[in-house]
């Protein structure tokens, strides 16, 4: 692993990178509006579920498959087919397009628009960073953006938000390690989710009368 490659990766996955991560709540806004997420504990549980058995896990598997050499267009089709609602599709499509465009503007390359985990995986192929670390940082970035939604709109104190983020770190590290040990070329066999409430929430978000977030 080289330090500059690790710094590139953290730059790409930082909230400052222009993919508008702050604009997407993944359905969490609907859960806060309906009162299902209303304090630090319910926020932490919700975010942990999305990471461990929701879109976080499936996205990380697709990212790892791309890193390991699976065809990017085939993985883009898989990510598109897996999106569970109009807003989930919009989120991964728009973030991926913005990510690829920015990376191409910085480093050259063709900037092909593909769903977010595929776009990140394609860019990270050039880095000398262990796949497990790429997956862990990807999941931590997703967690951070959801924690930020909770801090602003539950609302939670800043310190409580950071406590949640810290509490998720051992779980994210364990998950990334587990996923990286699976056969990344057989990604289809490992996909799977059990975030039924979160899947419903991304659909319920479409029906909210007042929406701050795009998803």
């Amino acid at each position: 692993m080289t330090e500059t490659d690790l710094l590139s990766l953290t730059q790409w996955l930082s909230p400052a990178f222009p993919v508008s991560a702050y604009a997407y709540s993944h359905g969490l806004e609907a859960e806060i509006t309906h009162g299902r997420v209303h304090d630090g504990e319910t926020a932490r549980d919700w975010i942990a579920t999305v990471i461990e058995v929701g879109a976080g896990r499936n996205d990380a598997l697709i990212l790892l498959a791309v890193l390991s050499g699976r065809d990017a267009d085939e993985m883009a089709d898989l990510a598109r087919a897996l999106a569970g609602s109009a807003e989930r599709w919009e989120e991964t499509r728009a973030m991926g397009a913005a990510f690829a465009e920015t990376v191409a503007a910085m480093r050259g390359g063709n900037g092909v628009a593909r769903p977010y985990p595929v776009a990140v995986g394609m860019a990270a192929r050039a880095l000398n960073v262990p796949h497990e670390v790429v997956a862990a940082l990807y999941l931590q970035a997703l967690a951070a953006s959801l924690v930020s939604v909770a801090v602003r709109f539950v609302p939670l104190g800043q310190a409580e938000g950071q406590r949640i983020q810290a509490a998720l770190q051992p779980r994210i590290a364990a998950l990334a390690g587990d996923l990286a040990r699976l056969d990344a070329m057989a990604v289809e066999d490992h996909l799977g989710a059990a975030a039924f409430g979160a899947d419903l929430a991304t659909m319920e978000h479409e029906g909210l009368e007042v929406r701050i977030f795009r998803t």
Binding site: G54, L82, G192, F196, E204, E206
Partner: protein, 280 residues
């Protein structure tokens, strides 16, 4: 090479039951009055075509073993030709019983020719304590075909107050339309998920359903479907449409109200009555 699929008699464990193997396949012809072109059945899987008196054909699959457990294999195939219209369903709920070693497997394959219309409305899958099941649904449909797809899972026999603690379910549903992968849903449910805290997971639900429409005009039908969904009460439901696909999701702590909600929503997408074998 040795054929590893053949169990060696000497190594056979003390099986408590005869392994269930069943395959049923129905192929309907083309056109609005399509008849049966091909029907094959083996083992405990059967397919029946009740007389429909002018209505579109209804193909009813049945597992005569009455359930599935570890090591069992069931396979259902339904193919309908260009321009055909049909409904596919199952005679009863499928029951996945405690698996004493091994994983049960159900494969379902659907194929729709150009302009064909298929409603695949099986009755629910009931998972009992200790069930271990892999399920695969694969669909190949023509670009302009139309498919309504229902999947309902019931966790435990709620009517008997059973709460699951051990479970393995891997449930993968995949649709290719015009050769392109257009829908994948994968459920992985294990013991951890049954006790996972918070509202993003099961959140106390014991019945889950996904109703999907794959059709070019799917988005145009979203408002009508939403109007048929429950807005409060025991069933949590919502719908979304994008990319020639409409999905509605349902979850509830009891099976019966969810079944009623489905009975209201399904005809909005199919424009046909529910399968006759359904008892609401």
């Amino acid at each position: 090479m040795f054929d590893l699929a053949q169990p060696a008699p000497a190594a056979a464990p003390q099986t408590r039951h005869q392994r269930v193997h069943g395959r049923a396949m129905v192929r309907l012809g083309t056109g609005p009055r399509a008849g049966v072109k091909d029907l094959a059945q083996a083992g405990s899987a059967k397919a029946m075509l009740p007389r429909m008196h002018g209505r579109a054909p209804e193909v009813v699959f049945l597992n005569t073993a009455g359930g599935i457990t570890g090591g069992d294999r069931l396979s259902y195939t339904l193919e309908i030709g260009a321009g055909a219209t049909a409904t596919g369903t199952t005679q009863t709920a499928e029951r996945a019983y405690r698996a004493n070693g091994g994983v049960g497997r159900i494969d379902t394959h659907l194929a729709l020719g150009a302009g064909a219309v298929l409603d695949w409305l099986p009755q629910e899958l009931i998972l009992f304590e200790g069930a271990a099941l892999d399920r695969r649904l694969t669909v190949d449909m023509a670009e302009d075909a139309e498919l309504v797809l229902l999947e309902t899972l019931v966790l435990g026999r709620a009517a008997m107050g059973e709460t699951l603690t051990r479970l393995h379910l891997s449930d993968r549903r995949q649709v290719r339309r015009g050769g392109r992968l257009d829908m994948v849903e994968t459920i992985r449910l294990g013991a951890d998920d049954l006790v996972r805290p918070g509202s993003a997971g099961l959140d106390g639900a014991t019945t889950l359903a996904t109703l999907t429409l794959m059709a070019r005009d799917a988005s145009d039908r979203l408002d009508r479907l939403r109007a048929a969904l429950p807005t409060d009460g025991p069933v949590r439901a919502a719908a979304s449409a994008w990319e020639g696909r409409l999905t509605a999701r349902f979850m509830a702590a009891q099976a019966y109200p969810l079944r009623r909600a489905l009975a209201r929503a399904i005809p909005v997408l199919t424009n046909r009555p529910l399968p006759r074998v359904w008892q609401i």
